[in-house]
Assembly symmetry: C2
Homo-oligomer: 180 residues x 2
């Protein structure tokens, strides 16, 4: 995995892929599947919606750290599997054959098999709405990977795979942030 | 446009498409392009990140209403155009050849040319983070439309078009909310 400039990290979340969020509660690693994410700034700052109904939330709240990992379409069955069991009784890294890799700034692990990983610190929890506000502190992309297509959850059990990419850089030049 | 059950409305936002948000400030209609959205609940409740830097924010704050319209790939140049000019000096419906259609519960207009439209009420503004929390009150889909592929902004001026859809309904049955 290669380091990615922090000014580009928001481009991993902005298209709205399903993500995996890892935590480390002091004893063990855990992973959750999440589709409820939002870019909030280019700094980069992200929101996720989660709360006490997710086992990972306890570790997130306690450690105020996590990693957002971006899986690709070849990992879809693992992504769905991770989202349909609980860290309360399952070591998800072992069960789904994923490799935890130590991060640089947080204790939550990167996932080696993913296309990209973003180390994040919790900067606020908006309890009223179960929104956790995160700030990215390091980001990585696996540039050697052939499969780069991510998946988008529809929410009804179906998933949309990335298709072709269209370039509108010229038309958008006035709106693009620096460093992307 | 056909009515869509409110319990299915979140499936329009969950995949993370670029959306258009319309407002009506009492005098005129406006539209903004937005990629910073998040599903927060199946009720359905959504978050968007926007603030005083967007001309539409004034109307959103004053009227506490908007419509989230979902454009498709054939509308991409309009979507980018809408995102790179301001309602302060532009009637965007006229300039981009879009047709405002009266909604049922809100004064912000639906966009006839879009694949889907969701009438929303503002239920909270989290000022600290520029997050506007919306509740859907009516939703519609144009079932007669051939082009159904939405686009996902990467944030660097490129856009990913929807590709194929994969079905994991069986694997996910334990997690799917009622009514989808």
């Amino acid at each position: 995995m290669r380091s990615l400039k922090l000014s580009k990290a928001f481009t991993l979340i902005e298209p709205g892929p399903v993500v995996l969020v890892t935590t480390h509660d002091g004893k063990q690693n855990n992973i959750m599947t999440l589709s409820w994410t939002m870019v909030m700034d280019f700094t980069p700052k992200f929101a996720i919606t989660t709360g006490p109904w997710n086992y990972s939330f306890r570790a997130l709240k306690k450690t105020r750290e996590c990693v957002i990992a971006i899986p690709t379409v070849d990992m879809l069955d693992k992504v769905v599997g991770i989202g349909t069991c609980s860290g309360a009784d399952t070591d998800k890294f072992t069960r789904f054959g994923l490799t935890p890799v130590p991060g640089r700034a947080v204790k939550a692990p990167l996932i080696q098999e993913c296309l990209a990983n973003i180390e994040c610190r919790v900067i606020d929890i908006v309890k009223k709405h179960d929104i956790v506000v995160l700030e990215a502190v390091a980001a990585y992309v696996d540039t050697s990977r052939k499969e780069k297509r991510t998946v988008h959850a529809v929410g009804d059990g179906t998933f949309i795979v990335d298709g072709r990419t269209l370039d509108r850089r010229k038309l958008m030049s006035s709106k693009l942030p620096a460093g992307v």
